[in-house]
Amino acid sequence: MMVPEALALSAVLFTIGVIGVLTRRNAIVIFMCVELMLNAVNLSFVAFSRLYGATGQVFVVFVMTVAAAEAAVGLAIIISIFRHRQTVDLKNINILKG
């Protein structure tokens, strides 16, 4: 059934996503890494649905829906940031600094 392998791949993808979020500076790349993490989770949902029934697959549909909405909003924000500051490098976007 390849469940352990699928879960392992999911963990690897998730970790890659986390590291990407933590280490990259470009907002677009970080955004893509977030999507990668979401999809890693989707993969684990699908894998678990093999064991526990179809609920996991229903979740995946929801996650993809929300991810699509989130992608639209996120990209819109990034574009408007770029319009204001001519950059999407997060090092320079720190106006919430205490």
Partner: protein, 726 residues
């Protein structure tokens, strides 16, 4: 006590339904006077406020402390009298006369009723708090009526005198408002049927004393003297309060009747503690060692105030309190001996200071302290009637002396006023030879002097002799003689007290004669121009003096000694028996203290001899010719200098009490506690702490998304780790 219970069992008190039901009106009259005069004073305050061009005359018509330096201005027109002066002159004394009249009728009702138990008129329940219940109640008994008569009688005379003395003062209505208020509180003090009412009066007279000492408050010395009196009295009042707490804690009652009924059940230690704390209060109010220092300074007030408050009435409140609590004191020989000893030491201490004072009022002030010492000797040895007797006669002759000195100061000041002289109108070195100018005052003051010195047949002789005789008798046989204080047997102490009393009597005769010689005899030293303006005070001032003079002569008839051939023997003694008899009997082992007739004659002979020797010594040794006005007087030397500086007690208190207190307050309480700990650590410290925490929080808010992400991840890992490793 048996009699008390019998009377209570017998039902209605013989005085109920009589004029004594109106006892509450006696203090209310002066209260009305206070309200009216106070309103008159306040309603016209704008007219006499600081902006008024005549306001700086406030102290001008009269003497003040440190007078010589006080005058900085050269105008000498009379200040205008207050616009309500006429009305105030009527209301002020009239309310006192009304009280006096009512007191006299109640007095006669009481003496006609032959009541053994006190008549208590309860007005309303004042403090019903759990088991503590205090009524607003007045007590009519033999002791309270004697005090009431003295307060309202002598008080009325002093009020009349004040009309002449203070009439031109811009603060005239305020003066009478305070004076009326004082009488109200004083009457509350002596008429209250329980300790809390007494305490209200006690504090009230302290307040009025403060207000009147600082009556001319625009001069700092006067205001300071008022504060000193108030603060020193607080020390005593603390003791009084502790005594009340102890009484309530141990007896559950604060009524005189309740306390007296339960007193015998108290343990000796508790009684002694109560009495000693109570005596601390008395020492403050009645200016005994070591708290006497405020009374001489209190002379900064107007002279009639000195006569009323600081000689005749308020300062005797301590004597009244001990006589009122005689049952408690008789149960504690140690406390009684302490009272007598402190009284004796005060008597001789103040008398020696009085020998070298130049301010006429200071002489009288120390004389008052000394005589109060005598009264405490009397109530200390359980001769309560003798103490009250001396209280009464002292009120007569000391009020006369003070008012007489007021008349002298008034005359001196008028003379100085006419010529623009800025010398000290109270310094005896500036007086001399006043007998030619003020013959009435001169004669009356001599009567009072002979009375205080103890020359028969004047009032002071009888009361002082009674005290000394009582001390001598108690040394022979009493519970006090059997007890001991600080390891010294009581009988030895009592003999010593008796001897001290004799020496004080000698000193009294000397310093009083000295005062009279320097003031009225010899040549006049007030100056050529001033001399022509010296004259007798108006009749409104000399009139009260004449009445007091008559009382100073006849006052001794109140309580003639046993061996006296004629008259009502021991009248006051028998009169007070229902109040103080039980306590006095307990101290004398249940027997009436009687000395052998030969001993009595010997004691009287010694007393007279001492008074005569004192006067003769002063007359022959003091040379008025060598006196020069104050401005040219050299500094005295040696022990005289110590006496003139009052043993440097004020300086010592300043060094030992005031300076360390100020130092500790400044360095520890202010700089350390207030500025350091409260302001620095607590107030500013919490602000610094908040700012520091905020700074740390701000460091977290880097604004870098990746930092937040890191924190988030670490947090998630932490939570997951906690779940999995659990």
């Amino acid at each position: 006590m048996l009699l008390l219970q019998e009377a209570a069992a017998a039902g209605a008190h013989p005085l109920s339904g009589s004029v004594a039901e109106w006892i509450w009106l006696v203090p209310v009259f002066p209260l009305i006077g206070f309200l009216v005069n106070g309103w008159l004073s306040l309603s016209s305050v704008a007219k006499i406020g600081p902006k008024d061009p005549t306001a700086h005359h406030a102290h001008h018509g009269h003497e003040t402390q440190g007078h010589g330096d006080a005058h900085g201005h050269d105008d000498h027109h009379h200040p205008a009298a207050h616009k309500h002066a006429k009305l105030v002159s009527i209301i002020g004394p009239a309310v006192l006369w009304a009280s006096f009249g009512l007191s006299v009728s109640i007095f006669f009702a009481l003496s006609g009723a032959h009541a053994e138990a006190p008549f208590v008129k309860t007005l309303f329940s004042w403090m019903p708090a759990g088991t503590l219940s205090v009524d607003a109640a007045f007590q009519v008994d033999q002791l309270s009526m004697v005090m009431t008569l003295v307060i309202t009688g002598v008080g009325s005379l002093i009020h009349v005198f004040s009309v002449g003395y203070m009439r031109e003062d811009p603060g005239y209505p305020r003066y009478f408002a305070y004076l009326n208020l004082f009488v109200f509180f004083m009457l509350l003090l002596v008429l209250g049927a329980n300790y809390p009412i007494l305490f209200v009066g006690w504090e009230g007279v302290g307040l009025c004393s403060y207000l009147l000492i600082g009556f001319w408050f625009s001069e700092k010395a006067n205001a300071d003297a008022g504060k000193k009196a108030f603060i020193v009295n607080r020390i005593g009042d603390f003791g009084f309060l502790v005594a009340l707490f102890l009484l309530y804690a141990n007896l559950g009652s604060l009524d005189f009747s309740g306390v007296n009924a339960g007193a015998t059940q108290l343990s000796p230690v508790v009684v002694t503690a109560i009495c000693l704390f109570m005596f601390l209060g008395c020492a403050g109010k009645s200016a005994q060692l070591p708290l006497y220092v405020w009374l001489p300074d209190a002379m900064a007030g107007p002279t009639p105030v000195s006569a009323l408050i600081h000689a005749a009435t308020m300062v005797t409140a301590g004597v009244y309190l001990i006589a009122r609590s005689s049952i408690l004191f008789s149960l504690s020989p140690v406390a009684s001996l302490t009272v007598a000893l402190v009284g004796a030491l005060t008597a001789i201490f103040a008398a020696t200071i009085g020998l070298k004072q130049w301010d006429i009022k200071k002489v009288l002030a120390y004389s008052t302290v000394s005589q109060l010492g005598y009264m405490f000797v009397a109530v200390g040895v359980g001769a309560y009637a003798a103490g009250v007797f001396h209280l009464v006669t002292h009120a007569f002759f000391k009020a006369l002396l003070f008012l007489g000195s007021g008349a002298v100061i008034y005359a001196m000041h008028q003379a100085y006023h006419h010529t623009g002289n800025h010398d000290d109108a109270q310094d005896m070195r500036n007086m001399g030879g006043l007998r030619k100018f003020m013959p009435i005052t001169f004669g009356l003051m001599w009567i009072a002097t002979l009375a205080i010195a103890g020359i028969p047949p004047f009032a002071g002789f009888f009361s002082k002799d009674e005290i000394l005789g009582s001390v001598y008798a108690r040394a022979h046989g009493s519970t006090l003689a059997d007890a001991s204080l600080l390891g010294i047997p009581g009988s030895v102490l009592l003999y010593a007290i008796w001897a001290i009393g004799l020496v004080s009597a000698l000193l009294t005769a000397i310093y009083m004669t000295r005062m009279m010689l320097y003031t009225f005899h010899g040549g006049n030293r007030s100056g050529e121009k001033e001399r022509t303006h010296l004259h007798e005070a108006p009749w409104i001032m000399t009139g009260p003096l004449v009445v007091l003079g008559a009382l100073s002569v006849a006052g001794g008839w109140l309580n003639l000694p046993n061996f006296f051939p004629a008259g009502p023997v021991q009248a006051l003694h028998h009169w007070l028996e229902p109040v103080t008899g039980e306590a006095a009997l307990r101290i004398t082992h249940g027997a009436e203290a009687h000395l052998e007739l030969a001993t009595e004659y010997m004691l009287v002979g010694i007393a007279i001899a001492i008074a005569v020797v004192g006067i003769a010594f002063a007359v022959t040794r003091l040379r008025t010719e060598t006196l020069v006005p104050k401005a040219q007087s050299p500094e005295s030397e040696g022990f005289e200098r110590v006496l003139e500086h009052k043993y440097y007690v004020d300086e010592a208190y300043d060094k030992v009490v005031v300076q360390p207190l100020v130092g500790v307050s400044r360095s520890v309480l202010w700089k350390g506690m207030d500025a350091g700990i409260i302001d620095g650590l607590v107030v500013n410290g919490s602000a610094y702490l908040a700012r520091g925490i905020g700074w740390l929080g701000a460091r977290l808010q880097s604004g870098q998304v990746s930092t937040y992400a890191w924190v988030l991840v670490i947090g998630v890992l932490g939570v997951l780790g906690a779940f999995t490793l659990r």
